[in-house]
Symmetry: C2
Subunit: 391 residues, 2 copies
Amino acid sequence: MENFTFYSPTFFAFGKGSESDAGKYVKRFGGSKVLIHYGGGSVVRSGLLDRVKASLDGEGIPYVELGGVKPNPRSGLVYEGIKLGRDEGIDFILAVGGGSVIDSSKAIAMGIPYDGDFWDFYQGKQITEALPVGTVLTIAAAGSEGSGDSVITKEEGMFKRGAGSDLIRPKFSILNPELTQTLPPFQTAAGATDIMAHLYERYLTNSTDVEVTDRLIEALLLTMKHEAPRVIADPNNYEARANIMWAGMVAHNNTCGVGRSQDWNSHAIEHELSALYDCAHGAGLAVTMPAVFKYVMKHNVMRFAQVAVRVWGCQMDFEHPEVTALEGINALQNFLCSIGMPRNFKELGAKEEDIPKLVDVLCHGDGRGGSISGFVTLNEEDCTKIYQMMV
Amino acid sequence: MENFTFYSPTFFAFGKGSESDAGKYVKRFGGSKVLIHYGGGSVVRSGLLDRVKASLDGEGIPYVELGGVKPNPRSGLVYEGIKLGRDEGIDFILAVGGGSVIDSSKAIAMGIPYDGDFWDFYQGKQITEALPVGTVLTIAAAGSEGSGDSVITKEEGMFKRGAGSDLIRPKFSILNPELTQTLPPFQTAAGATDIMAHLYERYLTNSTDVEVTDRLIEALLLTMKHEAPRVIADPNNYEARANIMWAGMVAHNNTCGVGRSQDWNSHAIEHELSALYDCAHGAGLAVTMPAVFKYVMKHNVMRFAQVAVRVWGCQMDFEHPEVTALEGINALQNFLCSIGMPRNFKELGAKEEDIPKLVDVLCHGDGRGGSISGFVTLNEEDCTKIYQMMV
């Protein structure tokens, strides 16, 4: 196990009706004037936004609003939020929505106190200050409610990049599984896929002797394997949604990723798909992961065999471990398809003829040096082959 | 799943040499004058205390010292620490040691700003203020490095009682597995048993549909089952110690205990043993748990069958689940004995003739009303039978 630090100081309020305490938590964590940031009409139509506002009113906390966050959130709205926040003297950002809204809120939170262009942080500049962020989560997926990460797409060039720091971990996150019950099945499944991807990205490690985190990841994968079909079968299954929601947070606050190298190449390869086609991130991951895993499997067959046996219930082929490893990858793909995720480029809406462009942006875009690194370093040729495997 | 809040704002620095940053973290978390609290001679002899002091000196942070914490820490030293802290104008407590030292430090931290008797908090009074505590952990066991709990024994009556609040969660905890390598095997095994008990106490729930936390608990039990024998076989196995140390923290910071009722009757029944005989808490738990589990098994046979199958590798007897359930309890007991833990009263050093006294203090001591509650409510007759099963 490698040396590490771990800090997850987010306060979580979990359960039915918990959003009614939003105002109380904003006050507890020092907010006196709030920017409520959200996406489209669903938080308005469902009455959630009104309940959150009523909660702020109840504590006498003034607020301004900025809606319009789209999936794969864009830099344009972040600049708008930074200007609005400065003009209005905001000292707290309250994200009401899913990972996109939370990521956009984190970007605004680091942009407001920063003199330069907030995009600097998405190109590797260290974050040294950020306004506090709170969240009211509406989809179990990105894990942004408990993480120090944010992913934004820059319109100029359509680069999708990430920034990270403990400074942008939310001060509080309100997790009410009821709020996810109105999601369309496709969004629910895409969220579940994203959660499972966060687990696989941590599972694929070059660190040795990290059993405790291996076991924790397997525990959460087993949970997703059991709970995701339950919620697809019955969208109103509160218990299944609750299990998924907590799993999604633990999957990404790094409790199970400490002390080990991680992969994240599937995310990088997928990001170019959702940046170009604006597809759901989880749907892109469903197509990307099996291809990446088959391509890199030989780097550590035993690791793939382990997850095949422990999570997917495959019988270990001790004479041919690679058979078991591949069986586990196929089991993952079949599982994701069974909950409604696409299997290939065609089902995703991606085009084979775009592969050269995808590879170029992936390996060279925005300052990258011709390859992406992780479990295995992948160059342009590797990435081309991987995209071709998805066709 | 039940509604819950979860807050674990402790900063963890994990790995080789991490204690050299103690001074840096005290400064980061606001300490300007420190009480270093520790136990016996081992932290002195090993040079650890000197390294911690050098780290404080390096940051220009003054300190006073209070050693002498014993296993099953006593109220007398807490009163002494409170007086010393007040006299010296201490604003930060740095615990260097195991769970006893950390629990004693937490008691001092809540006692210094409180006008009344600190024992009030161990009789149920709500904690509203406490000085910040940091820890340098020397044994993986109690989980106090990441928890909001503290257990103290009151000399008058030898009551062993717990207090809890997010306010006494450590600000930072330094976890260097190397520091545990000099522990005698018995202490290492007792620590492992304590960790496993923290997992079982959470596993035994009356809440339904809590798969995510069930799976996380099972993951940590599987880790302990694999890693504890490795470290008993080779005390210098850093990797095994590292896995155990992180498992011990996650087992007790409540990541895997949220949203579900918990048991803690094994702890209560054991506390009377370690209070009376001053035995190692983990050793007492090794004798207590199998008796308690066999006694309460019928309350939910399937729960015991589940852990038997998933953790202990038992084959499910679908016709007679109680056979599988019992097989799992026996597997736990045999495992604990295999790493050097006692099996019964005799091996623990407890006496059958003390049972009436143990039951009386357990069920009536310090304000209790004749029974203890948890997975199953146990009255005097139940507790008597359970103690008799341990003979």
